[in-house]
Amino acid sequence: MYLDHAATTPLSAPALAALTSELSRSGNPSSLHGSGRRARAVVEQSRETLAAAAGASPSEVIFTSGGTEADNLAVKGLYWSRRAADPRRNRILVSSIEHAAVQDTVEWLEQHEGAEAVWLPVDERGLLRLDVLEAELEAAPETVALISVMWANNEVGSLQPIPAITALASRFGVPVHSDAVQAFASVPVDFAGSGLAAMSVSGHKIGGPVGVGALLLGRSVALVPVQHGGGQERSVRSGTLDTASIAAFAAAAQDAVAHLDQEGPRLSWLRDQVIEAVRRTVPDAVLRGPDPATDPTARLPGNAHFTFPGCEGDSLLFLLDMAGVESSTGSACTAGVPRPSHVLLAMGLTEEQARGAQRFSLGHTSTQQDVEKLEAVLGSVHERARLAGMAGHASRIETAGTRHRNAAPAQPADRAAASAPTATTRTDTRPTDTTRTDTTGTGSEGTAAHTVRTGAGT
């Protein structure tokens, strides 16, 4: 039973049909002969289809190899072009809950290109603090190269106030990029109406194939390319176009957006079933991100994310996997090492709280049986995971070295309490290790954006 659609979702039927049909043909869309023209026609048709699905014009679609490339292209390209136009623009205002594709790109620009990152805090629901953004813009608008805020967070599903962000930015003439990989085709996304300069989307999150995505780039937005070559895609993204994947991506987008009116409410309903089931089974589990009961429009329809106190996320994942339920601790990681999520830490959770995270994400193949199965196994899974405890705690197994020590009645201090944030200090240097010395403005003071983030992006 698959509850990890936010990681990747199965190909939709129209995408599979388009993919297999195109894979059996040949032709380089840049070639001038018949098969080239045929391939080019497919690409351009797909461009129009995708543009229509995203509320953009066809010339605004830059096909890429996926969301990560689109994010790199947008953030680096915008930074370079804006700074070239005015060397004072070296600040990047970026949310502290971005996917690694944006987060690490910004860090790279800091380390190699003289950028200064301003990590914008979020509130406890995982929503951007607009007041901080405004203050940062007002403080020195001439130094801001770009703003990058994701449309929907991949871990806790919070939908960011994009129109408000672009409205603010437009007062200062600052371009805004948004990583809409999770939002596109899950909630209504209209590029033209959004006020965004650039927006990243990905194929495999919406029923298309892995390895294709797009950057939607406003017609008037100048961008310095990241990769050079044959000058395809407005000379912004060189490289032979992948006709089959592009066709399948467009087919998936068209299909998903066409069914959004029914699929959105269906998934929202299922998600609420998941939330209820988890709360029924594990009363102390905490829903992270906006609560649909009080914030009905602030959360992705397919996302339910919980922290389970006293449990390790990897224990839960293991036990659920063994029980045939595929979930995630938050976001996939190269080495498979679950790290406390920077998103949860930015929302004010302690490392210990963040370690107990589990995300259940729904998609087009999800059914009510999935929710029932989850509820059927979650109780015993949780019981066991709790028994297994927290890996950071000293083992209860007595060893040669701990036997004598354990004889003393000393109890380890409550780690959760010990590591809870006490004040919101602003730190201007980034810590060299992964311990976070800063919290994110959940208190009454310290609403300033901070320049600190956790070390490990997942």
Binding site: E312, D314, G392, A400, T434
Partner: protein
């Protein structure tokens, strides 16, 4: 049984897991993430802890058709192994971090989690053997291949820990055999080099690594009589048995080279002396544990209390013969052992192992572990607190 195979990414743990699968167990592979920032590729002779190693373990599990997970023990490892290593050195002792990892991580933190999650045992690629005495009591023994035998680094395991340990490589005649078996099974790690270095010191420079973490201050170098013969930049930079780099101002009376006999961190002094005094023939050990049930001779006999000394000896065991081994690949020497229960000077009592070596050993330092054997059987171990030559006056 439900078996958790701890997979470092090396050939031994891969073959061990393969054998557990073949024996019909329900096996799941787990790689321990011990560093928060693992390197991407393996370097030198470190055998774990990089993403490449994790991927090697993953590929082995793919081949074996078993699930694979990475579990994060970095926090525990940092505290129980890395910090312990630093603390021990700072206290002038020489710890064995691999042993500590076995004691506290693999067969404690990991084992506890495994048991809680429904496993019956933790399986590793160690070369050692667990034997059942027929009454459900476990004994730890040397592996068939003495050249590869790793019973020393497992000597710290208690009966409780051994009950849930599985070492499928126990009877393997040689490492070459394991590599050949890996090759036969199509495991890509068949030719992966052995690991030697301490895994958390990436460049292998233990001294340099420690120097960044331990405060070093200059102090005196004294000879075996207590007379000052030179100065050092920091006592913790020295190892017992070391000869080079002492830079002594005053030559020895007999003109012969001198060696580090002892490091005294509290006084920040390094004691040097002639080679003859390096030969240790008496060891006192603390933090004793038994790898299985204690042997009968080790029981305290109540009628030999001697309360006259300071600290006072409250109880004594009988004396028993054994073989003592002080490092992973050192030869064991015959010894006579006795246990004593002593006052510890602060109102408590402490169990101590008193070991008289019948063949002296060189380069024995406090903090090292002495493992006791009878035949192939591991009796248990103690942490060396005092190691001295009986010919040497007590300073």
């Amino acid at each position: 049984m439900r078996v958790l195979a701890a997979m470092s990414g090396g050939v031994d743990s891969a073959v061990a897991a393969a054998r557990a699968v073949e024996a019909g167990h329900d096996v799941v592979g787990v790689h321990l993430a011990l560093s928060r920032m693992p390197g991407t590729l393996r370097t030198g002779s470190r055998g774990c802890c990089t993403i490449e190693d994790s991927n090697d373990a993953w590929r082995a599990c793919d081949k074996l058709g078993i699930p694979y997970y990475v579990w994060d023990f970095s926090e525990r490892f940092k505290e129980d192994v890395v910090q312990d290593f630093i603390d021990e050195y700072a206290a002038g002792r020489t710890p064995n971090p691999c042993m500590r990892c076995n004691e506290r991580i693999k067969f404690a933190a990991l084992l506890e989690k495994a048991l809680a999650l429904g496993f019956d045992a933790v399986c590793t690629g160690h070369y050692a053997k667990v034997i059942d005495d027929g009454n459900g009591n476990k004994e730890l023994h040397r592996a068939a291949d003495w050249a590869k035998d790793q019973s020393y680094v497992l000597g710290v395991l208690t009966h409780e820990q051994l009950k849930h340990s599985m070492f499928p490589l126990a009877d393997t005649p040689s490492k070459a055999e394991v590599r050949a078996e890996a090759e036969r099974r199509g495991l890509s790690v068949a030719k992966k080099p052995d690991s030697h270095d301490i895994c958390f010191i990436s460049d292998g420079d233990t001294r340099g690594w420690l120097a960044e973490k331990i405060d070093m201050s200059t102090g005196d170098i004294v000879d075996e009589t207590g007379a000052k013969v030179g100065e050092h930049p920091g006592a913790n930079a020295f190892t017992v048995g070391q000869r080079r780099g002492l830079k002594l101002g005053t030559p020895a009376a007999d003109g012969k080279p001198r060696f580090v006999l002892e490091i005294r961190p509290k006084e920040n002094r390094v004691v040097v002396g002639p080679e003859a005094l390096l030969a240790v023939d008496e060891i006192r050990g603390i933090r004793i544990s038994w790898a299985g049930l204690p042997i009968q001779e080790a029981a305290f006999a109540e009628d030999v209390a001697d309360l006259t000394g300071e600290p006072a000896v409250l109880l004594r065991s009988q004396t028993f013969d054994c073989m003592a081994q002080v490092r992973a690949h050192g030869d064991p020497v015959p010894a006579t052992a006795r246990l004593e229960l002593r006052t510890d000077g602060s109102g408590g009592v402490q169990e101590e192992l008193l070991l008289t070596l019948r063949e002296p050993l060189r380069g024995v330092a406090p903090g090292q572990t002495v493992v006791l054997y009878q035949g192939t059987r591991v009796l248990g171990q103690a942490t060396i607190d005092v190691a001295r030559s009986l010919a040497r006056p007590v300073l």
